[in-house]
């Protein structure tokens, strides 16, 4: 791609349509609109600078999510600003309503607090596979590439994340009508 305009156009046609998914994932990783936007901007810049290494026809979503997660991880892990982790055993306790205030500020009014709040309380190791696979629709293999771990690790984190999320949302699920006619949990 020696023509800069053509390079730019190709990049935009491949990358820009994925901005919404990247932004939503970034927002749920950081729970901070400004941080999320900064991470997305940095993701696009890094991707553009290395676009010559991208092979057309390969998986652009996995490529961009890999960069996004790398930017996020560098910011939070190296600067030791990782979002607060709760002990897994504490996650089954219901969250206080005060945490809704920050969530409303981050998400605006079009939002159901229960699921978002529970997702936010999940440790990042379990939350990220849920976001990539269940929300963004990546395969196990793509998520493993994004996170830089084995497919089996992604599967086990996803399983634990789903179980923890259900534990946190069990009451909400029953109020919403789920499980009224199914066998009770032991």
């Amino acid at each position: 791609m020696s023509d800069p305009d053509e390079r730019r156009r190709q990049f935009e046609s491949i990358a820009l349509p994925l901005m919404q998914g990247l932004y939503n994932t970034s927002l749920r990783l950081t729970a901070d609109g400004d941080e999320a936007a900064d991470i997305v901007q940095e993701t696009f810049l890094r991707a553009y600078r290395t676009f010559d290494n991208f092979r057309p026809g390969t998986n652009a979503r996995a490529w961009l999510f890999t960069i996004l997660y790398s930017v996020f991880a560098n910011r939070y892990h190296e600067a030791k600003r990782r979002p607060r982790m709760e002990a897994v055993e504490e996650l089954e306790a219901p969250a206080g309503p005060e945490s809704d205030i920050a969530l409303v500020a981050a998400w605006g009014s079009r939002w159901n607090p229960e699921v978002e709040r529970a997702l936010r309380r999940l440790p990042e190791d379990f939350r990220t596979p849920l976001l990539l696979i269940d929300v963004e629709g990546l395969s196990y293999e793509e998520a493993a590439a994004v996170l830089g771990c084995a497919v089996g690790t992604v599967g086990s984190r996803l399983f634990r994340g789903r179980k923890l999320l259900y534990a946190m949302l069990q009451e909400y699920a029953h109020q919403a009508g789920y499980g009224k006619h199914s066998a009770p949990d032991p």
């Binding site: 269940d134 399983f159 949302l169 066998a183």
Partner: protein, 262 residues
């Protein structure tokens, strides 16, 4: 939900996500038929995946972020150009001399890279899905804010064409043959696309058009490129152009309705 040696545990997820081979799937289904605890656990996993997480809202990208990304890409482009400038100076001098020779050889009518052709190509690229918009919204003010936030180097306005049954789709900060352009798109009757661009320039710089119209003291230059009609007019230092594969007269009437004499 509990993990237990006599229950299936994570294998339930493999079943849910269709990651078991046929033989193992049969074994698991046989177990499930006699195990209410595993059935309950499977349904809980399914509820999380298919119900709970599907309730999460999809948040729109803030217009300011889309504009920031485009502006950051522009800065990167400029830095790349500056780095390569010295290296290319000598080569450019040689190429320029060659270009002069070529210009003397080619026919004056071979103007394949004119602005009208570039606008027509952009229209086709958008219609074919290879020219993405940075911001998707039907909010006229939001698109105008997006262009301002992105540093559009000229005053521009986004048309409200709702009365003419054209719905705004969104916009992008674009480049039209190397010059900054505000590009925004409408969807009209019969799913016809209408692409508008505005850039700093002069109508007089355009090549000879297929038609010239006058309306309310404004000159309109009309071009036809296959099924695409292009209508250019001048507003102060800005050239506006509408491009569409709708009926040619309908495109011209839209231009008449929205052009302002400056």
């Amino acid at each position: 939900m509990t993990d237990n040696a006599s229950h299936l545990g994570a294998t339930l997820q493999d079943l849910l996500d269709e990651r078991l081979d046929a033989a193992r799937q049969t074994e698991v289904l046989t177990h499930l038929a006699g195990c209410p605890q595993c059935r309950s656990e499977l349904e809980a996993l399914r509820w999380v995946r298919d119900v709970a997480l599907k309730q999460l809202p999809v948040e729109d990208v803030p217009p300011a972020l889309a504009a920031r990304v485009v502006a950051a890409l522009d800065v990167t482009d400029k830095q790349t150009v500056r780095r390569g400038w010295r290296r290319r100076t000598m080569a450019a001098a040689v190429l320029a001399a060659a270009a002069v020779v070529l210009l003397l050889l080619v026919s004056p009518s071979s103007n394949g890279d004119t602005l009208p052709n570039a606008v027509a190509r952009d229209f086709v690229a958008y219609r074919d899905g290879t020219l993405p918009l940075t911001l998707h919204t039907s909010d006229v003010a939001a698109v105008e804010r997006f262009f301002v936030a992105g540093g559009a180097p000229f005053a521009m306005r986004v048309f409200d064409l709702g009365m003419m049954q054209y719905q705004l789709v969104g916009g992008r900060l674009h480049r039209l043959r190397g010059r900054p352009s505000a590009l925004f798109v409408y969807s009209g009757p019969g799913d016809r696309n209408l692409v508008c661009q505005m850039y700093e320039g002069q109508l007089a710089d355009l090549p000879r058009s297929d038609d010239v119209r006058e309306h309310n003291g404004i000159t309109f230059r009309v071009y036809r490129a296959g099924t695409v009609t292009l209508v250019f007019w001048q507003e102060g230092p800005v050239v506006c152009v509408l491009a569409s594969d709708a009926d040619a007269e309908a495109v011209i009437q839209l231009a008449y309705a929205k052009a302002v004499k400056v």
